[in-house]
Symmetry: C2
Subunit: 372 residues, 2 copies
Amino acid sequence: MDILHTTPRDDGFSMPAEFDRHDGCLMIWPVRSDSWRSGGWPARKAFVAVASAIAQSEEVTMLVDPSQYETARVMLPPQVRLVEMQTDDAWARDVCPTFVRNAAGEIRGIDWGFNAWGGLVDGLYFPWDRDNHVARKVCDLYRADCYDCRDFILEGGSIHSDGEGTILTTESCLCSAGRNPSMSKDQITDKLCETLGASRVLWLPRGIYGDETNEHVDNICAFTAPGKVVLAWTDDETDPQYALSKACETYLKQQTDAHGRTLTVTRLPIPQTPVCIREDECDELDLWDGEPTRTPDERLAASYVNFYLANDAVIVPQFDDPMDTAACEILAAQFPDRKIIPIAAREILLGGGNIHCITQQIPKGKRRSFYA
Amino acid sequence: MDILHTTPRDDGFSMPAEFDRHDGCLMIWPVRSDSWRSGGWPARKAFVAVASAIAQSEEVTMLVDPSQYETARVMLPPQVRLVEMQTDDAWARDVCPTFVRNAAGEIRGIDWGFNAWGGLVDGLYFPWDRDNHVARKVCDLYRADCYDCRDFILEGGSIHSDGEGTILTTESCLCSAGRNPSMSKDQITDKLCETLGASRVLWLPRGIYGDETNEHVDNICAFTAPGKVVLAWTDDETDPQYALSKACETYLKQQTDAHGRTLTVTRLPIPQTPVCIREDECDELDLWDGEPTRTPDERLAASYVNFYLANDAVIVPQFDDPMDTAACEILAAQFPDRKIIPIAAREILLGGGNIHCITQQIPKGKRRSFYA
């Protein structure tokens, strides 16, 4: 693997859409008992369900702490490849590389700076050095050359690409004080364009209410095709999510994408009943001294937008809510060629994210060979 | 990856010869300061030289402790792939899987039991549990199904295959009290045949004088082609190696291989001057309490037979000895189509092995895909 100090755009590389074909998917086995209740045991069951669903149509590589290798091997189906790697937690979307591809089909990875969603300003744990090494190790593992972008703080969950030059992100996250406070919004726009090979950045103002990542875009809005997005939505004007979703919808309807298209916005309901953490679940977190904590009845950032697009499937979070079925039906209409696979996701949500947050796609492509 | 409880022979798999084509080579980055003097710093330089030489003609994957990832990345050429894995030391030959292949070209790995060359009887370190997990993790990494043979203690350095049904090993090692003491020599022969898909096991009586592995075969004798071996040799009848080499030569000349061929034995000299550890080198080992130690002027098991056969090269250990050149010339005659690459190997030898001990080939082959 070579570490590159050029820019993907100058080299002819850009970020494919998630709905494009994949060579596989990365996940990380959850272990830390301050993120995952009850020593991580229920979360691991949920991760197995997600990995098994994705593994029906593409290879899943699960990164695992050595102490859990044998346990994970027994719990996961044989299709899932287990690779040892130390991390600080289990958010593959945010710590794995963002892959870019050129016209010849070669792929490379981007190693962003990672500071646990806000560093010493409003980050969620400390230290985060092992997470910050994951991206280049994954590039090495996949024989993909690696762009060194560690001077720019970004998590994979804060961007979506339509694969045709348009990037979706949120102001609340990328302009937050804990990430790149010395950069203006215009400078961040330029940085996204040069690293992701894009020409247009759509800046949604906000994300999902209570989302502790400073409102990652991948929890509120996602491309389903070029020119088409789904947006988390509630009709209840008294719900704190209403104003946030409304502001995003208003923004999106005024914008065009990199190809000058207006966007078709499909509303995807949030759960009818807010998903809140119970007291017994809070009691089962082993919180470290000084860490951000959860309080009983705290509302969690539940959203069906946090699905994962596998090669032939859509893996959709479910919350034991009346809207579960409606969300699956809306996504089925958006992705008529994919199987809808609903997965009970409460245990993932309790940890602070959902299915999209714990996965990272590897686009179909050629990796570098020194022995062609 | 599936863990298999059948036998390779029954499944139609057997061990290819090292001189057959490879998909790559495994190595492990040395760190432990009781094995490698001066904190491992000089050994790492030597490992870089070996990896760089092999990487000229096949992919090297270096397994690395996370604490040394960035250091190794800087020191190694980009062709070398770095993959995080915790181990107890750096002997890839002995802890990585032995790969077997079937007529269709599919490869699988064998996960032998590993107990640090003799366990609590005469093993060289404790604990060894991380080493004992390397083989199946490597199979997982390479998408190769894995035979569970952990009930049988064996290191890769104690066997050689001609790729046509003949296995070379040593009695001193495989019949040692610290490995499989409940098995007779005949039972071990059967075990080798069923796991390596062989029909004939050649039992050399001894190995290299002072070899702390109970005299692994890979330090005294190696196939260079079917029906042809090189044997470590000295003409000095007063040298303690003389009787050992003589006994092996006498044995080999009385044997035939799996195809009924008599063996052509080429003598490969040992260094003219015994290679001994100096007092200052002993002083630079951080020995753990109760560990086997080295004493100043102790003779080390130096042998040119401990070469590695890369796709287009022979990587030959050198000892700053007059016989260095002679050994290279003899090997050049044995391998006329390969480049001879001599590597200064004293620092590897000080750790207790040599180039063959720190490498393990991955035969050319197809690995299992769940997404064909």
